[in-house]
């Protein structure tokens, strides 16, 4: 563990990626605290370019783009952590159980995984959102998580299959440990690094899903998000009016977060996997 921290802090990809993520997280958490008005309030001159007073300028209605951006960062992180977490939980549970138990249960779970895998997730999410009218970010994250787990289940199942027949698992079984306990204590720790990497990728995926849904106008109605900012910018013809400060920051924020997550992922892979390290 200490050795891995040592290599993690010397890995430029991990350090760079994590600093971008943490920097944006802190910005999202702190910056909105200093504003004494809401992100949707009309506070400034309409369509003003970036200035000292309004760092990212204002929208056609005079809303503060910087405040919307930083508030949107909060939603982005929330939906990423929750959506990625839920997907990881479902995928790992199904993968572990299917791989460890085997037999008919494995067949059924495998079929379920394959079906959800080929089902185009965004199309399902659009239908669900359109009918049910999502109001909060956790609800959105729940739906995103519920449809983005299959590849995790597949990979975890394959790894569990290979671990299942190892001696230490046999020993645990002989000593009378229960299935759940064996999975938790013996199998999961042996692939913990892989599970962490999986969560990071799911995090990024959930962020992109949420941004897409928000952009179509199906996102949570009660909050500000980066995707919704882009939706508004396009809807109120920011492109034709040349208000680039309205639509560049939200997309840049998403790209930075997701890109940093991917780079961190590659860096951590090098940390956990010594064979990749010397490159």
């Amino acid at each position: 563990m200490r050795e891995q921290f040592y290599f993690a802090f010397r890995n430029r990809k991990v350090v760079g990626g994590l600093s971008v993520i943490l920097g944006l997280l802190v910005l999202g958490l702190v910056a909105p605290l200093f504003a004494d008005y809401g992100p949707n309030e009309y506070v400034g001159p309409p369509a003003a370019p970036p200035s000292g007073e309004f760092l990212f300028g204002t929208t056609t209605f005079g809303q503060d783009v910087f405040l919307q951006f930083t508030t949107g960062l909060r939603s982005t992180f929330l939906v990423g952590v929750l959506g990625g977490g839920i997907a990881a939980l479902i995928g790992m549970t199904i993968g572990f159980v299917a791989g460890y138990r085997g037999g008919l249960l494995d067949e059924v779970l495998n079929m379920l995984t394959n079906v959800v895998l080929v089902l185009p997730a965004l199309a399902v999410l659009i239908i669900l959102h359109a009918y049910l009218g999502i109001k909060s970010i956790p609800a959105q994250a729940l739906f995103i998580g519920a449809f983005s787990w299959p590849w995790v289940a597949r990979a975890v199942r394959a790894q569990t299959l290979s671990l299942r027949s190892r001696e230490f698992v046999d020993l645990a079984r002989l000593s009378g440990m229960g299935t759940m306990r064996i999975i938790r204590r013996e199998i999961a720790p042996n692939m913990s690094s892989y599970l962490l990497l999986t969560f990071i990728l799911l995090f990024g995926g959930a962020v992109l899903f949420a941004a897409t849904l928000d952009f179509i106008g199906l996102g949570p109605t009660e909050s500000v998000s980066l995707g919704l900012m882009m939706n508004n910018a396009v809807h109120w013809s920011a492109l034709h009016l040349g208000l680039w400060w309205w639509f560049v920051p939200p997309g840049l924020g998403i790209t930075a977060i997701v890109g940093a997550l991917y780079v961190t992922n590659v860096g951590l892979d090098e940390v956990f996997n010594p064979r990749l390290r010397e490159m």
């Binding site: 079929m111 394959n114 079906v115 895998l117 080929v118 089902l119 185009p120 997730a121 965004l122 199309a123 399902v124 659009i126 239908i127 669900l128 359109a130 009918y131 049910l132 009218g133 590849w151 990024g204 992109l208 941004a211 897409t212 952009f215 179509i216 106008g217 199906l218 995707g227 882009m230 910018a233 396009v234 492109l239 034709h240 040349g242 680039w244 639509f247 560049v248 939200p250 997309g251 840049l252 998403i254 790209t255 930075a256 997701v258 890109g259 997550l261 991917y262 780079v263």
Partner: protein
């Protein structure tokens, strides 16, 4: 051969059934009275129209029979090709609205997927183990693959369309033209097609390039590559073998990415108001046209399943191991 395709077909058939069932189920789980919600939106001007419309909707949804029969009826109508009537473009049938939009989406998707896959693989293979090229391809690839499709579309529309004035930024063709097979019209069609295509292409390209680069590095470390090297085989030959081996996982990746690519095409069309399925989805949502929305959803699912099947067939053709395994040899 039969076992492999039998299993795949079973999965796709199951998926289709799940999709249809979801499509049938979701409106029935919608909070409140869906018929009333539709009525309050559509007819306000004429109070006398409410009663017949209510009756019409109840009959269309088939809400007056038991639940299992509603489900059976839904399938029967679907298999007859009847997906209801569009509210937005009343009284055009949903199937007709969709078939008019499908060519635009396919014209965007198929070239974008094929070209980005081919170009991404070539560039990724070139970049592997070549320091200076790798140092540019890798960061660019990561940025591109992390970019939301709609944002790249917005940036391209703004920079090349509005500021640069090189390409039009909305629609499938100019409004003053009529669809015909003339040079002017085809050129116009192409200029409207180019930017949405480019943004789809670029995002997908980044992912393929990174994937190929990583796979090639992995392959070049494999035993057969080392063996060839000790035999004194030229580098280009080893790389060619590595490339062919790395293509197989990339093909699997293509099958896994299909849903994401289709989703990307849908939002890109929304940015450019391109008259394909994505634009239909947006219009359906804005006009609360649920029949159209559900019809489009089923079309997208069927398209993705067909594409998956095509990739399965290609996989059998390119991978000799799968073929040999099927003929019973071990």
């Amino acid at each position: 051969m039969h076992r492999y395709f039998g299993r795949k077909t079973l999965i796709y058939l199951l998926t289709f059934i799940v999709a249809v069932t979801l499509n049938w189920l979701i409106p029935r789980f919608m909070p409140g009275d869906p018929v009333l919600r539709m009525l309050t939106r559509t007819s306000v001007s004429n109070p006398e129209a409410i009663a017949p419309m209510r009756e019409y909707y109840e009959r269309v949804f088939g809400l007056d029979v038991p639940l299992w029969q509603q489900y059976v009826n839904y399938w029967v109508q679907l298999l007859k090709g009847n997906m209801g009537v569009s509210v937005w473009l009343f009284p055009t049938p949903v199937t007709e609205v969709i078939t008019r939009a499908v060519p635009y989406t396919l014209a965007l998707l198929i070239p974008a997927i094929l070209l980005s896959w081919i170009a991404g693989n070539k560039v990724g293979a070139l970049a592997a183990r070549r320091k200076w090229l790798d140092n540019t391809v890798l960061p660019v690839g990561y940025v591109l693959t992390a970019t939301p499709y709609m944002w790249l579309g917005i940036l391209l529309a703004w920079s090349l369309g509005i500021v640069g004035g090189i390409f039009p930024v909305a629609g499938g063709y100019s409004f003053e033209l009529r669809p015909e097979w003339s040079l002017a019209f085809v050129g116009n069609l192409f200029s409207h097609w180019f930017l949405p295509f480019l943004s789809l292409f670029l995002v997908a390209f980044g992912g393929w390039a990174i994937g190929m680069r990583n796979l090639i590095i992995y392959e070049l470390e494999a035993d057969y590559a080392n063996y060839l090297e000790t035999l004194g085989a030229p580098r280009s030959l080893i790389r060619r073998y590595a490339f062919r081996n790395a293509l197989l996982p990339q093909l699997t990746g293509l099958a896994l990415q299909l849903g994401v690519l289709v989703a990307g095409a849908l939002v890109t069309e929304i940015v450019f108001a391109y008259p394909g399925l994505g634009y239909l989805i947006l219009s359906a949502i804005q006009n609360q046209d649920f029949f159209l929305l559900q019809g489009t959803f089923l079309f997208v699912v069927i398209g993705v399943l067909l594409a998956n099947f095509v990739i399965d067939v290609i996989y059998v053709i390119v991978d000799p191991r799968v073929r040999v395994g099927m003929q019973g040899a071990s």
